[in-house]
């Protein structure tokens, strides 16, 4: 049986291309089917979107040979300060402070703009003979009862041994396979934008826990920050409708004046926050990665990092199966990936959910309790290093790629 590729990957975002590159290291070929046209993916301007790559994800970029291209554009996160706050009052006196000098591995993470990460992934895919990129087309039908077959919009049929859904939290791949989802709406919308400011941020990331929802301020190269700011759906809709000047007027009291005057340096985005877990991550001849398997609340910026961990684990499981001659698309092999990733992602989803519920309210008692709790964590070096290692993606059964090793 000859196939178009060993693996068909639906989804050309970040996890899909990363998986194709990881699989190429194991000798497996893939076709990446991407709904967006290539010029959209490679648009050169800064659109305001960026990612916090945890240290483990940075190591993975290095193992995939991508980091040299990314490093010049990345901003290391040297410190993280988390504090409880209310708009107009500034931060509470107790706060969590994580300093990378306490972690022997170096910076806990790196901020990278969406445009650089995408362009690097596109270039790497183009340079890899084991990868075929099919941009600007959608899957309209699939069959995984035997070797994977997908039908594209133009009626082209592609076949492979395994089908991967890397097509986000509304994964058509999962839906077509009859995999049900579970989850709930947080009643919040994340407002995302990039901010320019007068004073240097010194590589410090901030997370303010405020009654409507958390505000994360993440340092970008230069005097710029990426912010993720959560509000109730209704309030977010009102704020999104404002013009830039009015938008900044709402943001200013939340953001504070510690970085001087602020301005917008890119487009504004809004994302309704929902938890969405697929009830199974695998089926015969099919596997889900990233948000297609588990869309979580982005409170700790762990969405992409969890997705890359899926990619690292799946590529390692498939590569090992291929080396020992197993049918790598068979369920017993895919279940090894599911066992490896399911506990981790469910724990993370429930963990961020609990943190969000605890912090997104204005109950005086809870507010006092969490201030004391944060003070305690901050004052206890071992506990603090534990949090930092978790956030950096260094805990648990870490896939080889995320330890910086090639497959």
């Amino acid at each position: 049986m000859t196939h178009d590729a060993d693996v068909l990957i639906v989804g050309g975002g970040l996890n899909g291309p990363a998986l194709a590159l990881a699989l190429a290291q194991t000798g497996l070929s893939s076709t990446v089917i991407d709904a967006l046209p290539e010029d959209v993916r490679s648009g050169a301007g800064f659109d305001g979107r960026s990612y916090a790559l945890a240290l483990a994800s940075v190591r993975m970029m290095r193992a995939l040979g991508l980091w040299d291209d990314l490093a010049d554009h990345a901003q290391p996160i040297l410190e993280i300060k988390a504090s409880d706050g209310r708009a107009g009052e500034g931060a509470a006196p107790f706060f969590l402070h994580f300093d990378h000098t306490e972690l022997e591995e170096g910076p806990m993470g790196q901020m990278i703009e969406d445009r650089y990460l995408r362009r690097t992934l596109l270039d790497a895919m183009a340079a890899e003979p084991r990868i075929t990129h099919r941009p600007g087309t959608r899957v309209v039908a699939q069959d995984t009862t035997g070797p994977a077959t997908v039908t594209l919009e133009d009626c082209t049929t592609l076949t492979g041994r395994l089908l991967i859904g890397a097509d986000g939290r509304q994964s058509g791949t999962a839906a077509r396979a009859g995999i049900k989802r579970t989850g709930w709406d947080y009643g919040q919308t994340a407002l995302v934008c990039a901010i320019g400011h007068e004073l240097p941020h010194n590589g410090i990331a901030h997370q303010f826990f405020m009654p409507p929802g958390p505000l994360a301020i993440l340092p970008l190269p230069g005097n710029r920050c990426s912010i993720v700011w959560s509000e109730t759906h209704a309030r977010a809709a009102q704020i999104s409708a404002l013009d830039d000047a009015a938008y900044l007027d709402v943001l200013r009291p939340r953001f504070g004046d510690f970085l001087g005057e602020i301005s917008l340096t890119g487009a504004r985005y809004s994302y309704p926050l929902k938890l969405s877990l697929a009830q199974a991550f695998v089926a015969p001849n099919l596997a889900l990665v990233g948000d297609a398997a588990h869309g979580i609340h982005p409170i700790a910026g762990q969405g992409l990092n969890l997705g890359l961990r899926d990619v690292g684990a799946l590529a390692e499981v498939l590569g090992a199966a291929k080396r020992r001659g197993e049918d790598f698309a068979a369920l017993p092999v895919l279940e090894r990936y599911q066992r490896w990733r399911r506990f981790d992602t469910t724990a993370m989803a429930l963990g961020t959910d609990t943190v969000n519920r605890l912090f997104s309210n204005d109950n005086a008692l809870l507010r006092a309790a969490r201030d004391i709790g944060m003070g305690l964590v901050s004052a206890t070096p071992a506990l603090r290093r534990g949090f930092m290692r978790q956030a950096a993606g260094l805990t648990g059964d870490v896939p080889k790629l995320l330890r910086g090793e090639r497959l």
Partner: protein
């Protein structure tokens, strides 16, 4: 006789399909074998690649190597060997099992020579292989020394015999008493004869008597919590696997 999917009638194929589903159900009756299989395959593929100087990153690293799987069952080892490029012969005492294995391999698009024949009869025919695999089989055999002599006869000079079985230790005895399925699974039916287990030292002595040179041995260790197996240099207390070379 030589059983291929083509020589079976429709009713038999239907029956074999159902049984193949059972053999290949990772959560079914053969779950312990499925759990152990990756660990066995890691060892076998590494030993064969090392002995014959094969590049494991190649798509078909074992191209041209003739491999015999004695007691092949549903083909849990024979199929991976064929996928890696080896010319595989799988033999089993059960006509039904051989039919099941042939049916499954055909569905996978793999060409494997499955036969219902004893190792002794195959050896008498003069057949020889680059690699002879006898996995979880010697504990079922009445005369282990004679069986090893047969394995040696089936191995070409310069070829390998790889054998896995259960050790005879207080630990394996305790595991058997406790009814641990990964041990019970291999006890001969109705006898539960722990005393038939062979220690690695006895195995290597018998191999030497059969003119095979033992060159490597590893433990295969089960972790009940994760349900996974791993290779161990030190712990050969329950399951172990040995490689021997037939001098050229």
């Amino acid at each position: 006789m030589n059983t291929t999917a083509a020589s079976l009638d429709t009713a038999e194929v239907a029956k074999f399909d159902a049984m193949a589903a059972e053999w290949w159900d990772a959560h079914g009756k053969f779950a312990p074998l499925h759990a152990m299989n990756p660990c066995r395959l890691d060892y076998i593929t590494a030993q064969i690649a090392a002995e014959f100087g094969r590049d494991r990153s190649a798509d078909r690293p074992f191209d041209g190597l003739r491999v015999l799987d004695i007691g092949c069952g549903g083909g849990l080892v024979a199929e991976p060997m064929a996928r890696l490029g080896a010319d595989v012969t799988g033999i089993d005492a059960s006509e039904t099992t051989v039919g099941v294995a042939a049916t499954h391999a055909a569905g996978q698009g793999l060409n494997i020579d499955y036969r219902q024949i004893t190792a002794e009869d195959l050896a008498a025919s003069g057949a020889q292989f680059d690699g002879v695999l006898a996995l979880e089989i010697i504990e079922h055999v009445a005369q282990p020394q004679a069986f090893l002599t047969t394995c040696a006869a089936l191995t070409r000079p310069g070829g390998l015999t790889i054998l896995s079985t259960l050790n005879r230790t207080p630990k394996s005895f305790a595991a058997a008493i406790l009814g641990a399925e990964w041990v019970m699974r291999w006890l001969p039916k109705g006898t539960h004869d722990w005393s038939k287990f062979i220690t690695p030292e006895e195995m290597e002595a018998m191999m030497t008597t059969a003119a095979l040179d033992p060159v490597d041995r590893k433990g295969m260790v089960f972790a009940p919590l994760s349900g996974t197996w791993s290779l161990s240099d030190r712990d050969l207390g329950i399951n172990y696997i040995v490689t021997a070379v037939k001098p050229a």
